[in-house]
């Protein structure tokens, strides 16, 4: 594992499987009367959110608190950022406070990378979504949900998603979730198909490790999981499709379309859902839709990522010679 989690593309297959396996154990903490582990006691994590987010911020916060980290929430609204402070100055302020990790969401693609690599800060950087670039923990929780549903909770341990057919439908152009998912699912051996109107596909999509189709109906019968993406109206500054009604008739998932999917196939959505647009209420409320499960799994995945990044030794600062690292053998 690297020091930071910036992009799903940085993860090797073994890294990703380790995170999923660790998350499976973390999920068991949620079933206990005391949902808390002492692992990150004394570590400080800042949630640095320059963009609105409810579920990702709450999910990170829950994960940090379950691992006993000290949590500082920082949202751009009403902070020094709204007075014109730059990312660099914000970062240096956090560094001066002795922060161990920064969870950052930013509207500009590449902001987490800049934060991690510019030398402003020593902390671990975890990308919680940057512009239209990446949202790696979302991809991990999606892969986790797929592995649980398609392979099995215990059977899935140590396994990837080899040969599973995953279809992502909708606004790929503006979706960091789609980019992260394509990268991670490819690493995990899945076959990914993107389905979208040509106007909602980014330039250069043909170089991505996936198939592209404009026709949802022909793709559904050969999908093990179908992920519906939200049409991101707040990022749309041009006419990408004629009317919303036409979009939802061609690319929306309704009961008839769901019936055409294989019986074991699941419907996923990263949230927030726009009912009636990309997904009908009938599908959203069905047993095959994993939206709520994805939220629960998000906490487990984020606990796993925080543990694997922050829980162990820092290689940059080896412990003093007076206290040599013990081997497992020694420490029984």
């Amino acid at each position: 594992m690297q020091r930071h989690l910036i992009s799903a593309a940085d993860l090797t297959r073994d890294d990703a499987v380790l995170i999923l396996d660790t998350a499976e154990e973390m999920a068991r903490v949620a079933d206990r009367p005391i949902k808390k582990l002492p692992t990150l006691r004394g570590r400080t994590v800042v949630n640095l959110f320059f963009e609105d987010s409810t579920r990702t911020r709450i999910s990170f916060e829950a994960a940090e608190k379950r691992l006993s980290a000290d949590v500082i929430n920082f949202s751009a609204k009403g902070s020094s950022v709204s007075k014109g402070e730059s990312l660099k100055d914000t970062a240096q302020t956090l560094e001066a406070m002795g922060v161990d990790a920064v969870v950052i969401r930013h509207g500009a693609s590449g902001a987490p990378y800049r934060l991690a690599t510019s030398g402003w800060i020593d902390a671990h950087v975890i990308n919680a979504g940057d512009g239209t670039h990446q949202h790696p923990t979302q991809a991990l929780l999606d892969a986790f949900t797929m592995r649980r549903r398609l392979v099995g909770r215990d059977a899935g341990l140590g396994q990837d998603l080899d040969g599973r057919r995953i279809t992502l439908v909708g606004d790929v152009l503006h979706s960091r979730v789609a980019r992260s998912n394509v990268d991670l699912l490819h690493t995990l051996g899945a076959e990914v198909t993107l389905v979208a109107p040509p106007t909602l596909l980014p330039v250069g999509v043909e170089t991505w490790p996936c198939e592209v189709s404009y026709d949802l109906d022909s793709t559904l019968p050969k999908s093990d999981a179908v992920m519906m993406l939200r049409v991101q109206r707040e990022r749309m500054n041009a006419a990408f499709f004629p009317t919303e009604r036409e979009y939802s008739r061609r690319y929306g998932l309704d009961g008839d379309r769901m019936a055409r999917m294989p019986e074991h196939a699941i419907v996923m959505h990263p949230g927030p859902m726009v009912r009636g647009m990309e997904i009908t209420a009938e599908v959203a409320d069905s047993d095959r839709c994993t939206v709520v499960e994805q939220v629960a799994n998000g906490v487990s995945i984020r606990m796993a990522v925080l543990y694997l990044l922050l829980g162990g030794a820092e290689f940059q600062t080896p412990s003093t010679p007076a206290a040599p690292a013990r081997t497992a053998e020694e420490n029984r």
């Binding site: 154990e25 068991r28 162990g312 030794a313 412990s319 013990r326 497992a328 053998e329 420490n331 029984r332």
Partner: protein
């Protein structure tokens, strides 16, 4: 607690001396089972929790023996202590093992922790912390296959398979059929780092 993967023995253990062989281990486990029944006056409320990896196999073996003696099923589970270790920050992050608490929980029960080797006592301290987050047992006892001494904390075992006086330059390695293909306890010399 040990985190070794099944792999060929390192050179240092090729010439390691066996101190317990398979029949010895079987006898020792039978004796510990009888001791548990005696001390717990029937083992009615005993819950066995093994510490991964090899403690879990030993706990399952003890559960089988207890069942033979008392003709009742004894709840058995596992308790991963990785997240409670005091040396987490001295090493790269470790993979987690499974914590499996039997259905009825541990509240009001007599929990017997089971591990392969008792050494510094730090693993057991971590296990006691972990138990604290799971419930409130009536009492906690400790069973180990080998006690090799050199405690760093005020912890002792209630049931000991074999007391093995060792020097810090020696290694004790427990091999069990479930994980390593054979039952034996090896005493070897630690390889000095180059």
């Amino acid at each position: 607690m040990d985190t070794h993967d099944p792999q060929p023995l390192p050179a240092s253990q090729a010439d390691a001396r066996p101190v317990l062989e398979a029949p010895d281990i079987a006898r020792v486990m039978t004796r510990i089972a009888h001791e548990i029944v005696e001390r717990a006056k029937g083992a009615d409320d005993v819950v066995l929790l093994g510490i991964p990896t090899r403690g879990v196999f030993l706990a399952r073996r003890l559960a089988d023996k207890l069942e033979q003696i008392t003709e009742r099923k004894v709840p058995v589970g596992s308790l991963d202590i990785t997240m409670y270790r005091d040396d987490l920050r001295l090493q790269p992050p470790r993979a987690l093992a499974r914590t499996e608490i039997p259905g009825d929980g541990i509240d009001g029960k007599l929990v017997v922790l089971v591990d392969d080797v008792l050494f510094s006592g730090r693993t057991i301290r971590a296990a006691l912390d972990a138990l604290n987050d799971i419930g409130r047992p009536r009492a906690v006892q400790l069973a180990v296959l080998v006690d090799r001494g050199h405690r760093e904390l005020p912890i002792r075992a209630d049931y000991v398979g074999k007391n093995l006086p060792t020097s810090l330059r020696e290694t004790v390695k427990v091999l069990l059929a479930e994980e390593d293909g054979r039952d034996t306890v090896l005493l070897g010399a630690k390889q000095t780092p180059q």
